[in-house]
């Protein structure tokens, strides 16, 4: 396991963490913990095996531990001010926020599967191995996650002005 290989995985780890956790600082904390854990367990890594999958599964386990523990809510004091969405002028921005908030409303386990498939473009068997669940479970979580996300987004989207009324 060498530093350059890890460095190459960092952007992807950060992207997945950001999508999972939402907040930037908390996501980077998770990546940081992942790296520390990886180095502490470096003897468990078999040379030649998939470094990305190994790092993602460490991150997944840390995240599970994190959620099991009651959180100390020490939040950033300089959070972004909450902008009230203004529908007329900020359609694009609103859609982005819709997707982010819809994603945050998915159950954690569905979000994890969905993101590994959508962002990392992992195969279903890779996802199963990273999350340490059977492939059948991957499929059912993917299916439920996608459908739920679709319904949430449908419910939120402003209706098109010229809708055909049947």
């Amino acid at each position: 396991m060498d530093s350059r290989a890890i460095l190459a995985e960092l952007p992807r780890l950060r992207r997945y963490a950001r999508a999972m956790v939402g907040e930037r600082a908390a996501a980077d904390d998770l990546v940081q913990d992942t790296l520390e854990k990886a180095w502490a367990r470096v003897s468990q890594w078999r040379a030649g095996s998939d470094l990305r999958a190994w790092l993602f599964s460490i991150m997944h386990n840390l995240r599970v531990d994190q959620l099991r523990r009651p959180a100390l809510s020490t939040r950033s004091l300089e959070e972004d001010p909450v902008e009230p969405p203004t529908r007329a002028t900020q359609t694009d921005r609103l859609e982005v926020r819709d997707l982010e908030s819809a994603l945050a409303r998915l159950p954690e386990e569905q979000r994890a599967v969905l993101l590994l498939v959508a962002l990392e473009e992992m195969s279903y068997t890779e996802v199963a191995s990273v999350l340490d669940i059977p492939t059948g479970t991957v499929m059912s979580r993917l299916s439920r996650g996608r459908e739920r996300l679709r319904l949430i987004l449908d419910g939120q989207q402003p209706s098109t002005p010229l809708r055909v009324v049947r």
Binding site: R15, D29, L114, S143
Partner: protein, 267 residues
């Protein structure tokens, strides 16, 4: 009726281009005959593209320095050093020797100190946690950050020493750029503890939490803990437990912690 059965998994396989090629024709035929399924798979494809677009920019962000440095093998990561799962705030990320190196101006953040046995942590971590909570509660307060302000430092120190039943004092952190704002008395685990608050020219606040409740009575080196956005250095000196908390980076906080330690050590 004799048509091959298309499963939900086939539809997702189609969305993700993971369906076996032998199934492709059958799936396409199914979608042509079932507009609702076709609309649904299209929505899933659009969802996938939208997620990729939304999070793609993260890949191009510059890497935070702390992460970049952690990509390098830490000095202590040897093959035999597997560690039990330690929770976030109990991770011991720095050892005193590393801190001294940093304080003496060496470059590079060697984040990995030695990991401590769990039973020792059990006694010590609550200190860092309590201090971080106290920091988060009082440091953002603009109008009433302290009970007694630095103008009355003598009174503050006398009062806190009396209430804690042991002499305490506020270290001078001027050379580190921090001036005393004041202090307050707080409830600890079983009695009173003290908090001194400092502020630098930019308004960045730092708190020193002083507890005299330490029963363990063995001194420790510096420990580091991160509690959410708050970084904490803490150590035990006799019956005193000290925790220095701030929302500033570890290196900067380490330098201040080192100054605090030096002054209090000469008590």
């Amino acid at each position: 009726m004799s048509k091959p059965l298309i499963t939900e998994a086939d539809l997702h396989g189609h969305v993700d281009a993971q369906a076996p090629s032998s199934r492709r024709t059958e799936i396409e035929a199914h979608l042509a005959a079932h507009p609702e399924d076709a609309a649904r798979t299209q929505a899933y494809q659009a969802q996938k593209r939208a997620l990729q677009e939304l999070f793609h920019p993260v890949l191009d962000e510059p890497l935070p320095e702390a992460l970049r440095q952690l990509a390098a093998r830490p000095a202590t990561a040897t093959a035999a050093q597997d560690q039990p799962v330690l929770s976030r705030w109990s991770l011991q990320r720095i050892a005193a020797s590393v801190l001294l190196t940093l304080a003496s101006g060496a470059t590079g953040w060697l984040a990995h100190g030695q990991y401590q046995p769990a039973e020792r942590l059990a006694q010590i971590t609550p200190l860092a946690r309590q201090a971080a909570v106290a920091h988060v509660v009082y440091s953002p307060d603009v109008r009433r950050p302290v009970e007694i302000s630095a103008e009355h430092e003598d009174q503050l120190v006398t009062w806190l020493s009396k209430r804690l039943g042991a002499p305490v004092r506020a270290p001078k952190l001027g050379p580190q750029g921090f001036e005393l704002v004041g202090g307050r008395l707080l409830p600890g685990n079983s009695g009173p503890v003290a908090q001194f608050m400092y502020q630098d020219a930019s308004g960045q606040r730092l708190t020193l939490y002083v507890s005299t409740e330490i029963a363990a009575n063995h001194d420790t080196a510096f420990r580091f803990s991160r509690e959410g956005q708050v970084n904490v250095f803490y150590w035990i000196d006799g019956k005193y437990g000290y925790a220095l908390s701030a929302g500033i980076d570890k290196d900067a906080l380490a330098r201040v912690a080192s100054a605090v330690y030096d002054q209090l050590d000469r008590n």
